[in-house]
Symmetry: C2
Subunit: 216 residues, 2 copies
């Protein structure tokens, strides 16, 4: 198994957490430096024409792409420990909370969007931070209200780690990148703090990956 990865990528962070939880170590990690545009190079375009990471390549050559699809695949191919509850309505809530992050928020802050804002609307670095902060804050407010439900337990959905928690952890790192304080979202913050006490989350952290800036 080969993982195309970059330290800063929040979608790859999600896959790293799932691999750690499942006890799977990829044979090879291939760095795709998103800040240098490696994702647009010919060799990676053959792996994923969407020019986005993560991609996970199985030993038979099957290329898996899109982080949520990879999480579901890993959960189906390696069922223990599960990343989703058993009951359909609980599964739906865990998936929906995950999608607030992975669909409603993160796609607005990825490199290609930041580059477009700078190129087309002359948005400077501070403006890009403002843009990302805005969408992260909106989603964190929505997540906080959703998480005030009695369905929430130790983690986002009950007392079992699910895809929602994996995505919430990635949202918290996005909040760090875009200078968004978690204090106004106490349930989010409580769960995030709890998650990073789990080794599978802690060692998957973007800032602990090769190439990450030191001392941040």
């Amino acid at each position: 198994m080969k993982l195309f990865s970059f330290w800063r990528s929040l979608a790859t962070f999600r896959v790293r957490i799932a691999l750690n939880l499942k006890g799977i170590t990829p044979d090879e990690i291939v760095e795709i430096n998103l800040l240098k545009g490696d994702q647009r190079g010919d060799s990676f375009r053959k792996v994923n024409p969407m020019m986005a990471i993560p991609s996970l390549v199985e030993d038979d050559g099957t290329v898996l792409f899109e982080s949520l699809a990879i999480l579901e695949y890993l959960d189906e191919a390696h069922p223990h420990p599960p990343l989703l509850p058993k009951e359909p309505k609980a599964r739906a809530r865990a998936r929906a909370l995950a999608q607030i992050v992975a669909c409603d928020t993160h796609p607005l802050t990825v490199p290609r969007v930041r580059e477009y804002l700078a190129r087309e609307y002359k948005v400077d670095d501070a403006g890009v931070i403002k843009w990302g902060n805005h969408w992260l804050s909106e989603a964190l407010a929505g997540l906080e209200t959703h998480l005030q439900s009695p369905e929430t337990g130790r983690y986002c959905q009950g007392d079992q780690v699910t895809v929602a928690d994996i995505c919430l952890a990635s949202q918290s790192v996005g909040a760090f990148y875009f200078k968004c304080d978690l204090a106004p979202y106490p349930t989010v913050k409580r769960i995030v703090d709890e998650l990073f006490t789990i080794d599978a989350f802690a060692r998957a952290h973007p800032l602990k990956q090769p190439g990450a800036p030191a001392g941040v």
Copy 2:
């Protein structure tokens, strides 16, 4: 079952297709006029604090949100006909193709983003069309290359309609909204044309819903 819906919403369009395929008719359709800001009203915020549709409310009061989570829920609660293949790698590909639409593309073109561009960067109507056209075109190019795989059959993944097709149909309507020609993407176009010959897709079309503009 109650569906919170708006004719123009592409995410709600996906849920309508799935309901039609499963032979489920909601007892009530509640219009949330996204162009008038109904999604930000107090009554709808209680349904979905993310202020986004669709939301599907089950008879026991369970609120389902996020279109892909709703599709998976409907598939688990009402397994026939299935919206995913059986084999994990095929399921992963169908989900990933769906996510190119529902994660990588559509969230960039929703009302709150269009409103932010206009408010913060003074992007005019033509500029908003250019923005949407850009992201749709990028994703359509990626989808076209992905769909040139031998895994593609009559539909996106083999010869069975899946969540990938439901999302591709919504992408084609997004392309119409943002003046994006499908001609450069012949595999996409072939599958989209095939999908709209299916009654469950055709009668779910945004322009056939109450409130849609006539004569477009």
